[in-house]
Symmetry: C2
Subunit: 321 residues, 2 copies
């Protein structure tokens, strides 16, 4: 039985030594991002219930903690019971990410902010997930965002600054894996999937590192068995390259890893953009940080449009950023 | 009408310039307290509902935001409606102070902490108060606590460290007002109040600076009209001294401000302790920080036992700490 003086389930206390380590690391992150022109902001920990459930948060919305209205009447309580919906009694919730608060913040304060706004927010978020090793229900996110700047230039800044953070934290040997949503959609079209099922298919593709190409095909059969097989062949060919040194950011290597896909117009634009990104970053990345193309990198949220990236460190089994 | 992109009612965003000022001030506070041997800890923002409503938080418990259980069944919802109690549906809540979390933290981690533990926690707390000028529903508290050290020595350390914080923040001209709960209870007994009504009487005495001695007498008449008049005479005599330079921390000045009260054993012990405190702090306070006895200083929470103190700054109408 858990001790009655433990923190709430899936949350944790920081003792002085751990807190000092954490503050030290967060201080490094802040300083590097500040030196790249990011300005720190703060928003309240809670947001209006309707905003948290407006669809921007994807599946994370389902994991949000809801806060009871104050002064709920007997009538309101009876109405919620009749509707079988306790969420009617909530008017606020704990944020599940820092993106929803940032969009509200920007809409509210746009007139007071520079035309290109580099935002930094380091703060806790909450998700009512089943607690598991290394995943907590309260955890800190460090978000940087650039609003008002053309796509690729912003991506270059985000990746350069983040790479420097990793180097300053002493996380040597990191690999930045990049992809572009247009490549993903091009890949799915190339294999024959209708655009209506693209989002569902991507959720499965995202599991490649966990369940392998055979597992992905099994799951995709529910959508379309023929297309599943086609995509499975592509993924089976890509899998060993990803497990090895990865796919370098050159047109040749990218096209060789996805034969035929580059003929799709959207995918071609995505590949071109990735190659430009790689060229711009060449020489700008700190010692020991590698950048690689990963055509199976998905990221969960539907709001990503162009470049997506994720950072892996050999000391951690999961993505570190 | 409020803009739909404002933060939730009574909460606020911090734009870069404000956030930078705030972080600068919090950095000073942290550094000074660390240099006095306080160790920073962190606890989750939420605590179990039962713990937040166990009575340690006094009136603040009523102001706490409650978090809905996840996966509430139709039966549980119907039961809450039948009982007319929506709080049955909550299992967590946002903390309303940092003291309740600290006591839980200490109970949980005692074996891993030094025998004299100087804790520093700087973090947000939430209260569902009616928003008003200068009072927010989310605000930051900076708490220092010493656990495991005899009373007076701990008080001296808390006041010395806090005075240095004020000086480093550039808050010149601060006055630390001190009292001792034993003086308050002695005063009430001296005036004839039964101990059963002491807590209620103190809530009224606490309003002296807002409603004056006549106002206090009016409110106290509900408890006991004769005792109210007696206490009113004492308070009316004290009032001009408090409004002036205050009451110096000498036995003579303290006893002169409360004639006859020092004969009460409890009050005498409290006065002796305050005088010792004043002597120990003489010379240890930074330039410009003054310490004064205030027999009407109450502090809301019932968990205070001995010394209580509050800090006033001429630039702020209310207490700053």
């Amino acid at each position: 039985m858990a001790s009655p003086v433990n923190p709430p389930r899936g949350m944790r206390d920081f003792l002085p030594a751990d807190k000092a380590r954490r503050e030290h690391a967060l201080g490094i992150i802040k300083n590097v991002y500040r030196s790249h022109g990011f300005d720190e902001i703060e928003t309240p920990v809670v947001e209006d219930y309707a905003r948290l459930h407006a669809g921007l948060g994807g599946d994370n919305e389902k994991l949000s903690f809801s806060i009871l209205k104050r002064g709920i009447t007997a009538d309101a309580l009876a109405a919620a019971a009749a509707a079988g919906n306790p969420e009617q009694l909530a008017d606020l919730g704990l944020r599940f990410d820092l993106t929803v608060p940032l969009t509200r913040f920007y809409a509210s304060h746009r007139a007071e902010l520079p035309s290109v706004f580099r935002a930094l927010q380091i703060a806790p978020v909450w998700r009512a997930e089943r607690p598991q090793k290394g995943r907590y229900r309260q955890f800190v996110q460090a978000d940087i965002d650039i609003i008002g700047e053309a796509g690729l230039l912003a991506e270059i800044e985000l990746i350069t600054a983040t790479s420097q953070v990793l180097a300053e934290l002493g996380l040597a040997g990191c690999t930045i894996r990049v992809n572009d949503r247009r490549v993903l959609f091009g890949l799915l079209s190339h294999c024959g999937f209708e655009s209506a099922v693209h989002d569902r298919a991507l959720i499965t593709v995202d599991k490649l590192d966990k369940i392998g190409s055979a597992g992905v095909v099994d799951e995709l059969r529910e959508l379309d068995s023929v297309d599943a097989e086609t995509l499975g062949v592509v993924l089976a060919a890509v899998e060993p390259k990803l497990a090895g040194d990865g796919i370098t950011l050159t047109p040749q290597a990218i096209e060789a890893s996805l034969p035929g896909v580059a003929e799709n117009t959207g995918a071609a634009a995505g590949i071109e953009s990735l190659v430009e990104l790689g060229a711009a970053l060449a020489g700008a990345l700190p010692e020991g940080v590698t950048i690689r193309f990963d055509p199976t990198l998905v990221r969960g949220m539907g709001y990503y449009t162009g470049t997506i990236f994720e950072i892996a460190h050999p000391g951690s089994g999961s993505s570190v950023g």
